[in-house]
């Protein structure tokens, strides 16, 4: 906990979401979401399934379209303009529950593809960057294998490295450990903790409460498409205010 508070949070604003609403057909998934994220902040979003937490972070890089309100990422307003969307996406890295590596490319090619084509980095330089980040996630020796030859935990770490190769200013994690075995969860969480310690702005949908306690400086609880409660981890876990949060925490921490 002490560690988390040491990590600096600047006053600069990274993401501003105001009065954002989203519907799937007639179903109101996200209701009046207001959220400001400062640079360097590490936010954990939790809540029961179907509460809209994944949808919320997928709206931030426009994988999902919102119908009302505004999202501003790094000073760029998210509109339907494709150029804006691509610009935001290249600044925002994302890791998925099912990794979504490209199975027809090697690990190294997975990592160099976006820098080469989106950032127009020369191939050699992109490969050096990729190897740097693969070393960081501790799998440089797998660089020439295909994703199908790696374990789930390794694949997720490659996915993190692939995002990092774009040098993103913000990282989004959509339940990065929920498709993994317990042993592999740790190796992925360790990678994420390391990333947090370097001051990356992170929004993480996860049920790993230990991770939330250790690195988050804010925990957000969502239910029925709304932010029900947000607080510092210590206060959030020890002294939840709303009855809905209390029930949720008692259920997931109860065993």
């Amino acid at each position: 906990m002490a560690e988390a508070t040491q990590m600096k949070v600047s006053d600069e604003i990274a993401i501003t979401i105001s009065k954002m609403n989203k519907w799937y057909g007639a179903f109101h998934v996200l209701r009046d979401i207001d959220l400001t994220v400062n640079r360097g902040e590490r936010i954990v979003i939790c809540g029961p399934s179907g509460s809209g937490k994944s949808t919320l972070i997928r709206c931030i890089n426009a994988l999902e379209e919102h119908q009302q309100g505004s999202i501003e990422v790094d000073g760029t307003l998210l509109s339907s303009d494709l150029k804006n969307i691509d610009k935001i996406r290249s600044e925002v890295g994302m890791c998925f529950q099912h990794f979504n590596l490209f199975p027809h490319l090697t690990i190294l090619e997975n990592c160099t593809l976006a820098p080469i084509w989106v950032r127009k980095t020369p191939k050699k330089e992109a490969e050096e960057t990729a190897m740097h980040f693969l070393e960081k996630v501790k799998i440089p020796d797998q660089a020439n294998k295909y994703p199908g030859q790696l374990s789930g935990g390794q694949q997720q770490r490659v996915a993190i490295a692939r995002s990092l190769c774009m040098r993103p200013r913000i990282m989004l994690f959509d339940e990065p450990t929920s498709a993994l075995d317990p042993e592999m969860i740790k190796e992925v969480l360790d990678t994420m903790i390391e990333l947090a310690e370097e001051g990356m702005t992170m929004l993480c949908v996860t049920h790993e409460m230990g991770f939330a306690r250790q690195v988050a400086n804010r925990v957000i609880f969502m239910d029925a498409g709304q932010i029900v409660e947000q607080n510092e981890p210590e206060a959030f876990f020890n002294n939840p205010q709303s009855p809905r949060t209390q029930l949720f925490l008692s259920q997931i921490l109860g065993h």
Partner: protein, 432 residues
């Protein structure tokens, strides 16, 4: 073995037993036959019955083939030579070889030109089919259509050059303007190509073809298996890209593009190919300006390409649908734009899934090129049914001729099939 036993029954081996051959019945052909041919009684009966059937087939065909006659001038001469014994009259193949391969109107002294074009086809196709080859060879592949056109049709060299310049100008325009706007790059390059071709038309005088170094051969003089190969190669190589475009168009979020593609695909799939070919040969000229002489070969290529591209589009749509949504999302989340995501992530995977289906259609298309014989084009089947069987010398030689045509098609189709299986193994990287 437990510890106690080891202690009570002590044993030390002092010499190594030499290796021995397995018993005869457990190895070699006897074992193989026992396992595969005579495993059970019904199995054994089936084996014997099958052997008998194979014997019957070979007993009927082998003498016919081996006793075949290869060098007579007519069927009656053949019968004289055979003198009542069973035997094929293969002399029709040797005597009419040129007609079967090149048709009956292609000038005999020019046979080397399509022959050379055929050999160059392998050079041109190699870098496309085997992508481990150096990429620079693709330059030849890009030039090949113009070279082949010049070789087969002859005439003034200006025709293929103007066509090539049109494509190069269009490509140049595309490269420089597509970044600004896709629509500008796309439609602009089409307009540029047509302007070049229109201007180039003035360069080519009406008499250019008559005085050309390479004697001009009109399309109606093409025929034989050469015509099948030309139609097959042209239509397959055009319909795959068109099919990809249609499949992507059908998934487009722009309603106009989507509905154009849907209507095209559904309409073409709902019409028999024969109907389209009749439209090409008879009715299509009503749609072109009266004075324009659009070549019959070109009209047929357009129709067959449209037909097979509709089918290929549906096969590729299946491949696209089989990809997990996460692949699109991962491509998007890395900031790849639509053309990049399609070219680098989605299509390589979707096409790989679609290989068996695409090959299926390519093989079908190649065989369907024989349908042009019904619109009086003399492809190999047209040659057999028309000039050869109708001639007095060879009236009645069905098995040999049709068997030969079948063999030619089988060789090509089996080759395509083997290639596709190699390709699937080569691309198997996902280890699922």
């Amino acid at each position: 073995m437990s510890d106690t036993q080891q202690h009570s029954i002590s044993f030390v081996r002092t010499e190594t037993l030499p290796e021995r051959e397995p018993p005869y019945a457990a190895s070699g052909p006897v074992k193989w036959m026992r396992e595969n041919l005579f495993a059970t009684i019904p199995n054994g009966i089936l084996t014997i019955v099958s052997l008998y059937v194979i014997y019957l087939i070979l007993a009927a065909t082998l003498p016919w083939i081996l006793n075949g006659v290869w060098n007579t001038a007519s069927l009656s001469e053949c019968r004289d030579v055979l003198d009542g014994t069973v035997g094929a009259c293969f002399s029709v193949l040797t005597e009419r070889w040129n007609q079967l391969i090149f048709g009956f109107q292609y000038p005999e002294e020019l046979y080397w030109r399509p022959g050379l074009a055929f050999l160059l086809l392998f050079v041109a196709a190699a870098p496309v089919l085997f992508f481990d080859l150096p990429r620079k060879l693709l330059i030849f592949t890009a030039l090949y259509p113009f070279i082949a056109f010049y070789l087969i049709w002859g005439g003034t060299i200006l025709t293929p050059i103007v066509a090539l310049v049109g494509f190069v100008a269009a490509g140049f325009f595309w490269k420089n303007f597509v970044a600004r706007s896709f629509a500008l790059g796309f439609f602009g390059s089409i307009v540029v190509a047509f302007i070049v071709w229109w201007l180039g038309g003035f360069l080519i005088s009406d008499t250019a073809n008559e005085n050309a170094a390479m004697q001009a051969v009109p399309s109606r003089d093409l025929g034989g298996f050469m015509l099948n190969m030309m139609l097959g190669v042209t239509c397959v190589s055009l319909s795959v890209p068109l099919g990809i475009a249609l499949a992507l168009g059908r998934q487009s979020s722009m309603p106009l593009i989507k509905w154009i593609c849907v209507i095209f695909i559904e309409f073409i799939r709902g019409v028999p190919l024969i109907t389209l070919l009749f439209v090409a040969s008879v009715m299509l000229s009503y749609f072109f300006p009266p004075e324009s002489q659009v070549d019959l070969f070109l009209r047929v290529v357009i129709m067959i390409t449209m037909f097979s591209s509709a089918y290929i589009a549906e096969v590729i749509r299946g491949g696209l649908a089989a990809l997990p949504k996460g692949q699109y999302e991962a491509a998007d989340s890395l900031g790849l734009d639509y053309p990049q995501a399609m070219r680098l992530i989605i299509l390589p995977q979707a096409l790989k899934i679609s290989i068996p289906g695409i090959v299926n259609i390519a093989v079908g298309l190649f065989k369907d090129t024989t349908l042009v014989s019904v619109i009086s084009m003399f492809d190999i089947l047209g040659m057999i049914r028309g000039p050869i069987l109708a001639s007095t010398e060879w009236n009645g030689v069905y098995w040999e001729l049709l068997g030969f045509a079948a063999l030619l098609f089988f060789i090509v189709c089996y080759g395509i099939s083997q290639y596709s299986q190699w390709l699937e193994r080569r691309l198997a990287t996902d280890h699922r």
